[in-house]
């Protein structure tokens, strides 16, 4: 099986096949023979040429959350034919108008930018209070605020859209 995988904004070409109890895998040009052992739901013990690694992994469809040595990664699989196109499409969409959504649940303290405002990189957009803390959501690019979807004092859920910048 051959697929593309992204981890932390890097894309890798992955080829793999089952190999006894484990698997053979080639990531870009690096080949590994992996002995895997899954003892309880999400814990995997991995042996690669005798080296032992403890990995936690779970997910569904094409997205997996993996913890390796105290760090966690989101790993995305792509169908090389269909998905890449979809990805490209959504990226271009993102570039023409940028959607600001709440990264966490919280209460909106204040909008620092209003409809029509020109914002540039690092400009504050929204101040969100969560867990007794005021957090400022900043802009990473240039654009004009097109629409605001919430009001001050609103309690928002994670992922709820707050603002569109064009």
């Amino acid at each position: 099986m051959k697929t593309e995988v992204t981890v932390a904004n890097r894309t890798y070409i992955v080829e793999y096949e089952s190999h006894g109890e484990g698997l053979k895998i080639c990531i870009d040009d690096q080949a590994y023979t992996v002995d895997t052992n899954n003892f309880t739901d999400v814990f995997y013990s991995i042996l690669i040429a005798g080296k032992s690694y403890d990995i936690v992994a779970a997910g569904k469809d094409d997205i997996y959350s993996v913890a390796v040595g105290g760090e966690s990664f989101n790993v995305h699989f792509f169908d090389p034919r269909a998905c890449l196109n979809r990805e490209k499409h959504s990226q271009s969409a993102l570039e023409s108008h940028q959607l600001i959504s709440a990264p966490m649940a919280g209460r909106i303290i204040r909008f620092k930018a209003q409809v029509g405002d020109l914002v540039t990189s690092n400009d504050g957009l929204v101040i969100l209070e969560a867990m007794k803390m005021e957090n400022e959501i900043k802009s990473r690019g240039i654009g004009v605020v097109k629409e605001i979807f919430a009001a001050e004092d609103d309690v928002v859920e994670p992922g709820q859209k707050l603002m569109i910048i064009e």
Partner: protein, 502 residues
């Protein structure tokens, strides 16, 4: 000793208190908000009663609701833990009025120490050094400017009723002062309903060192040595040590003597902490006195062997302290790392969510205090602390490498944590040398190290294992809400002011 007490808190400190109560045969009553029905403190207590909705102000801060539970359960005393009502003089007073023992000092002591102006005046009166600056708080920008000119820039603006880092700002010049003053005043009012601000001398490489004291109502007062709490992020402690590598015998003698002096003159009772700022030249200045148990009390317990909650209960029930100064020996060294659910890639924003799997470290010299378990959700309503990991070693370096080993054993899956930050701190040469100030994190730990390629490869292998398992068994090992969200917009912590960290 009491037969039954109520614990007016949640999370790890409530569990910590229940542990000692169990050892002393004291029955425990937990109170909980609607968000906390499955919380560990509810599970561990002998009794548990709901006192209101998730927001703290409607539950853990609701003095009447808590006292009603105390009354109906015949709890003889209330342990407030840290945060919430622990330094609320009105609550302490109300307890006494309701014939319930408040486990802490007298309400007037709480009131005096909670009011920075009064506290400073007491210190000045008794010849205890305080930080140069205003001894009176002000709501007026003009006053602030005048003081700043007197003591010279840089100065620190501090909310009079603030604490735990909330409502603080450094100002380097007269130009910056007005904006900063207004911001702090606004935050101070919003958080504490008190707009008064202190202006004080700002030190460039200060150490934050505190002395643990305990006093009973029989005239005994002891210190339990110092803690080094300079490793802070935005005025919030991240790593604490006992003893401080910066404190030599002469300074230790001065610090503990001053702390005991304060304990005596304010008429203290129970466990308290005197916080000092220590400058490069080892001058010490009184900062404040915390009239409650601290988060970081575990390092003191590891080094002295004293169960501080046990002593709190002894004192509150009228017994003398079970230890005198000669019996309190500091053996070895201890370090504590506060493990938080926060996102290091998003400037350490709180990252509430489901703790799908947790494995805590074990083995020699490791102490765990947590209020969570695999399956529990870190709530957005409260402090996102997952656990305190503390290690003890024969010396500081043994404690340090043991902590690194412990952090490596720690598996927390489901939410992002600051574990990697701790590893960075503990392996930084300045930390190893003990050569650091409260600026340490800001100056030394400015960016996350790059992932190495191999960790990406391992992540892919792990993801592939999970994917093949799903394909094989047709079952997802876990539901999808465990997947951590990434947002393409960065969040800044510039306006992060914590009210609930201690």
């Amino acid at each position: 000793m009491f037969k039954k007490i109520l614990i007016a808190n949640r999370g790890e400190i409530a569990v910590r208190i229940i542990r000692t109560c169990r050892e002393l045969g004291v029955q425990t009553v937990a109170v909980y908000s609607e968000a906390d029905r499955g919380s560990l403190h509810v599970r561990y207590a002998d009794e548990a009663y709901c006192i209101g909705p998730a927001p703290a102000v409607e539950s853990y801060l609701d003095a009447e609701a808590i006292l009603a539970v105390a009354r109906s359960t015949h709890a003889e005393a209330i342990h407030p833990g840290y945060g919430f009502l622990s330094e609320n003089a009105a609550f302490a007073k109300k307890c006494v009025e309701h014939d319930v023992v408040f486990i802490g000092p007298d309400s007037t002591v709480i009131e005096n120490m909670g009011n920075k102006t009064v506290a400073r005046q007491i210190m000045i009166h008794h010849g205890i050094p305080i930080i140069p600056g205003a001894t009176d708080a002000t709501e007026e920008c003009a006053d602030a400017l005048k003081v700043a000119h007197d003591i010279g820039f840089p100065v620190m603006l501090k909310a009079a009723s603030g604490g735990g880092g909330k409502g603080m700002r450094i100002v380097h010049s007269a130009e910056e002062l007005t904006d900063a003053f207004l911001a702090v005043r606004r935050e101070a009012y919003a958080s504490f309903a008190d707009s008064r601000i202190f202006v004080e001398k700002y030190f460039s490489t200060p150490r934050h060192i505190e002395v643990q004291v305990m006093a009973d109502n029989h005239g005994n007062a002891v210190h339990l040595y110092e803690r080094e709490c300079s490793i802070q992020r935005r005025y919030q402690k991240v790593v604490e040590e006992c003893p401080s590598v910066f404190v030599d015998d002469a300074l230790r003698k001065r610090l503990t003597k001053t702390a005991l002096h304060i304990t005596t003159v304010v008429g203290y009772s129970g466990a308290g902490t005197v916080e000092f700022l220590v400058d490069q030249d080892k001058n010490h200045y009184f900062l404040e006195m915390n009239t409650r148990i601290q988060v970081e009390h575990s390092v003191t317990e590891l080094v002295t062997g004293v169960d501080m909650v046990k002593e709190q209960l002894l004192v509150a029930s009228g017994s003398p302290l079970s230890i005198n100064q000669d019996q309190i020996k500091a053996v070895g060294a201890a370090i504590e790392c506060r493990i938080y659910a926060e996102d290091p890639e998003a400037d350490f924003l709180p990252a509430p969510g489901p703790l799908k799997k947790i494995t805590f470290p074990e083995g020699p010299g490791v102490r765990i205090d947590s209020g969570v378990y695999s399956g529990w959700q870190v709530s957005r309503h409260y402090d996102p602390m997952i656990a305190k990991i503390a290690t003890w070693g024969r010396d500081r370096n043994e404690a340090r490498i043991r902590m690194l080993r412990a952090l490596d054993e720690c598996v927390i899956y489901g939410v992002k944590t600051n574990v990697k930050l701790h590893k960075q701190i503990l392996t930084d040469q300045s930390f190893i040398d003990g050569n650091y100030s409260t600026k340490f994190i800001a100056e030394r730990i400015d960016s996350l190290p790059q992932d190495d390629l191999f960790s990406h490869h391992l992540a892919i292998i792990g993801a592939l294992c999970a994917r093949l398992k799903t394909a094989e068994t047709g079952q997802h090992s876990m539901d999808e809400n465990m997947l951590q969200q990434h947002d393409s917009w960065r969040m800044s912590g510039k306006y992060q002011f914590w009210a609930s960290r201690f």
